[in-house]
């Protein structure tokens, strides 16, 4: 049907209705983004001035804008016009955003010199972040420092926007507070502080580089696929990094061997995917406006099962080869070069292209969970536990479903929630990340994320309750 003319406004279809405060907030955030682009374009903005303007502008501007936007309306679901807006309905702006994001990732991974990363001394975009990097650890920024900072900024600023948007829903509120805190502390501040205290990423006075290991506690193998790479295992054991290095090594192994299966058994994989994970964190905050773009087709589900399990096999084989190489001190397994045959293809195809470029770059096209749904081996691993050995399920409320389709539409994982709800069947699916949005958008109170006894969790009721005519099961 002919719908409303697509609006070209990025944030709100009715910018004409935005008041002065909202506009001021937007302008402030816009200024911050402008500074980022200008410095990228080579305009000489002194980083000590430009960086605070960019970071604070985006943060404060977004908070002002969204506070004003949402607090001015009664609390409740705010999906008006989602399918009319150019940005959120694969319109022109969606494509522009997708191309810019994708382009940024390509440069970040493979051509960092184009964003200003130079061994001889940073320029432009990366140089803008030098003061902050100097502050944390006394050395100039890398492209990854820039990326980590912007990533954390996105999750924080857009996480606050999410808090305002879902303030009526305590599950969403608590969850999002944890998402923001996990990124800010576990993924960003603690690692930077550890590096600043010379427990990681140290170059000695004599110019010797002691190595780097992953200090994001929650970034567990197999998501963190290079956990067992020899440079990383060596860095964990680097004498001057102790006891921190060993601690991270032990925690890292315990994370996937013990912590993950136990918590996933009790509450489902949501504790990770939509509460603490960095990829999930970005998806739930910056990616929130795109969650409805995931495909709900049965064919997409088929593709998903093939892809995610293939990646799991791939990461497993790659890691096995890596560990073999480490302990037998050889670069080869069965005559195959470990780096060239396993690590390099995995890093390029999965680590960079799938999780980064496609995973985030394609938000405006394929939804905010492409990576989590089709690729992430961590999600795949927990998915198997969630499906077969867990107390988590989404309970449906008897016969109350009106098949409206809100739940399926807004499921970022492309689960056809309605197909279960209208049969009165619980949703027990490997891919559910427990974001809780299906439950939030359901206008009839049909869906509830619950942890309960495993007994009867996946049973199909003989007949939807409310109908006494039919008593036999069919």
């Amino acid at each position: 049907m002919s719908s409303v003319d697509p609006s070209l406004s990025i944030a709100n279809p009715d910018l004409k209705d935005a008041d002065v405060v909202q506009k001021a907030g937007l302008a402030l955030a816009g200024l911050g983004v402008l500074v980022l682009f200008l410095s990228w374009g080579g305009v000489a903005i002194p980083p000590s001035i430009g960086l605070p303007i960019a970071l604070l502008g985006i943060l404060v501007g977004t908070v002002i804008y969204s506070a004003r936007l949402y607090l001015n309306q009664p609390e409740g679901i705010k999906n008006n016009g989602v399918w009319f807006r150019s940005l959120t309905s694969r319109g022109v702006l969606g494509w522009v955003a997708g191309i810019v994001l994708t382009g940024f990732y390509v440069l970040l991974y493979w051509f960092p010199e184009y964003i200003g990363f130079k061994a001889s001394g940073n320029e432009g975009f990366v140089a803008l972040f030098d003061p902050l990097s100097m502050f944390f650890k006394g050395k100039p920024a890398s492209q990854w420092f820039l990326y980590g900072t912007l990533y954390t900024l996105c999750i924080t600023a857009l996480g606050v926007k999410f808090l305002f948007k879902y303030r009526h829903n305590r599950y969403q509120f608590v969850r999002t507070l944890v998402v923001i805190a996990s990124q800010l502390f576990l993924a960003y501040l603690i690692p930077e502080i550890l590096a600043g205290l010379n427990y990681n990423d140290v170059t000695t006075a004599s110019g010797e580089y002691l190595g780097y290991f992953n200090t994001d506690l929650k970034n567990s193998w197999p998501l963190d696929y290079d956990f067992f790479y020899d440079w990383q295992l060596n860095a964990f054991q680097e004498p001057s990094y102790q006891p921190v290095g060993t601690l991270y090594l032990i925690i890292g192994i315990a994370m996937f061997l013990v912590v993950t299966p136990i918590i996933t058994y009790y509450v489902g994989k949501r504790w990770y995917c939509s509460w603490v994970c960095g990829c999930g964190g970005l998806a739930e905050t910056a990616g929130d406006p795109f969650r409805h773009l995931s495909s709900k087709k049965l064919s997409a589900w088929r593709l998903e099962r093939w892809l995610i399990h293939s990646v799991m096999v791939f990461v497993f084989v790659m890691t096995a080869a890596t560990i073999y190489g480490y302990f037998w001190n050889t670069g080869e397994v069965f005559g195959l070069n470990i780096y060239k045959t396993f690590q390099q293809p995995y890093g390029f195809l999965i680590g960079a292209t799938f999780s980064g470029v496609i995973g985030v770059g394609f938000y405006p096209m394929l939804g905010n969970r492409v990576w989590c749904r089709f690729g992430c081996p961590m999600a795949g691993y927990m998915g198997i536990i969630q499906r077969f050995k867990s107390r988590f399920r989404i309970t449906t409320n008897g016969g109350q479903c009106i098949s409206c389709g809100n739940c399926s539409t807004y499921c970022e994982q492309g689960i056809d929630v309605r197909s279960y709800a209208q049969k009165g069947q619980n949703i027990v699916r490997a891919s559910c990340v427990g974001c809780g949005v299906c439950s939030a958008v359901c206008p009839r109170g049909v869906l509830n994320l619950e942890n309960g006894p495993e007994q009867g969790r996946t049973d199909l009721p003989p007949i939807i309750i409310g109908n006494e005519s039919i008593k036999v099961s069919n």
Binding site: S2, R170, R444, G466, E468
Partner: protein
């Protein structure tokens, strides 16, 4: 092989078709004039509001029908000849049937108001109404909605989502007060106004005025006030869509008259859903049941009967739900606008004015009869089972935590509710902890 023809691809017709297919190999054809595929009528509002596109409102993917050998035909049935068992379509084509299911739903009521057939005056029932609403609400400065029921308030929400100011004419002294008790109705009045709707209670439509192009330009109320507007929504209820059956020999009253097996007076002709009217009254239930759930249940039952296992329509305990802007509503059992003589009444409202619970129970036996909950969610299984087990109001309150269906971390109100109940009724109900063991018993039917 018999040819089973179903007129209407709504929830009733489609449920019938799906369940017949599960049980038999008969040839099935579903006819509809509205859309090619089954979609959820209840989601019409969300298409207009931009939450979903039409395609999202289809519960089954398009390949489903062929895979399950359910033939779909897009056509309007003009005539049913029950002698020769033949349907005639607009355009002259015809189709023979062996068994016929009438699942033709409803149409919006029009009560003979002057101007009711002008352009930009319409109800909201089908997809075509949605398209027309799309056309006639472009660039307008005010809309008037007539009729304060569930579709009226949905229409108000739809228009507001497009920033169109709304005047809402409600005949009753308070919103939906013929169904909702005063407390809940009052709560929704406040909420409607919180959304800046110009709510006019105790106000009737007198006439709709036309502009020079035959389009509505204003309404006149019974107080003589003229309200300029460019769109008028008529949402004063629906009635069965049965006009085309005239002269077919199929007995009708307001709807198509059926027995408890959903069979009409003509052999091999059945009716289900909104269009079916029961000859015999069943307890407190109405003879016309015009909600989604009952349409679905009738479809389930009718499929049994058609597959040679005659089965009576025996719905269990009444339940329903709706959403008034941001406030969700569920109801289980019977809660009348005013308690009946044998009924006791309890009403609790949260200080926010957006959450409430009402209980009705029998004065003599203390048996729970009905519950209304607003702004929080209750478990259907719990109440269904408690009604079956004839639990008392005290028992239900004691176990209220088992029935709470709000998401995790939500503040729960059971304690406040029980305290107020005890204070008002001089009882000593004490709340039990939520028990999964009991919940699983509720769920297993």
């Amino acid at each position: 092989m018999q040819h089973i023809v179903i007129i209407g691809n709504g929830i009733s017709g489609i449920t019938t078709a799906r369940h017949i297919r599960k049980k038999s190999d008969q040839r099935i054809t579903v006819i509809s004039a509205e859309t090619d595929h089954f979609y959820s009528r209840t989601a019409l509002m969300y298409i207009y509001m931009g939450h979903m596109k039409y395609e999202h409102t289809k519960p089954y993917e398009d390949w489903f029908w062929e895979k399950n050998r359910i033939e779909l035909k897009r056509a309007y049935v003009e005539k049913v000849d029950t002698e020769s068992k033949t349907l005639t379509f607009a355009g002259g084509e015809s189709m023979p049937y062996d068994k016929l299911v009438l699942a033709t739903g409803s149409k919006s009521n029009k009560f003979g108001w002057p101007g009711q057939d002008l352009k930009a005056v319409q109800g909201l029932y089908n997809y075509q109404d949605l398209e027309s609403m799309e056309t006639y609400t472009k660039d307008i400065s005010r809309a008037v909605i007539v009729g304060g029921g569930l579709i009226g308030i949905e229409m108000a929400e739809m228009l507001l989502s497009r920033n169109i100011p709304v005047t809402f004419l409600v005949r009753e002294g308070s919103f939906w007060n013929n169904v909702l008790p005063d407390g809940e109705s009052e709560m929704i009045n406040r909420h409607i106004r919180e959304h800046h709707v110009d709510l006019r209670l105790s106000t009737n439509l007198k006439e709709i005025l036309s502009d020079e192009n035959g389009r509505a330009r204003a309404v006149v109320t019974d107080s003589g006030e003229e309200i300029p507007c460019q769109f008028v929504g008529l949402t004063a209820g629906v009635s069965p869509n049965i006009g085309f059956l005239e002269g077919s020999g199929i007995e009708t009253n307001r709807g198509i008259m059926v027995d408890p097996y959903l069979e009409t007076n003509v052999k091999d002709v059945f009716a289900a859903g909104d269009c079916a009217e029961f000859r015999e009254t069943n307890g407190e239930r109405r003879n016309l049941e015009q909600v989604w759930y009952t349409g679905r249940m009738m479809g389930e039952v009718l499929a049994e009967t058609i597959c040679n296992k005659p089965t009576k329509y025996e719905p269990g305990h009444w339940f329903n739900s709706a959403k008034f802007f941001d406030i969700e509503y569920q109801t289980y059992g019977w809660v009348w606008a005013k308690p009946k003589d044998n009924e006791n009444d309890f009403y609790w409202e949260h200080e926010s004015g957006k959450i409430s619970l009402r209980l009705r129970w029998d004065k003599e036996t203390d048996k729970l009869l009905g519950v209304n909950n607003f702004g929080f969610r209750l478990r259907h299984h719990a109440f269904d089972k408690w009604f079956k087990e004839e639990r008392t109001v005290q028992y239900v309150l004691e176990h209220l935590r088992d029935a709470n269906f709000d998401p995790e971390f939500y503040k729960s109100h059971e304690e406040e509710i029980v305290n107020q109940f005890n204070a008002e009724n001089g009882t000593k109900v004490s709340l039990k902890k939520k028990s999964w063991k009991r919940i699983l018993q509720l769920v297993s039917n």
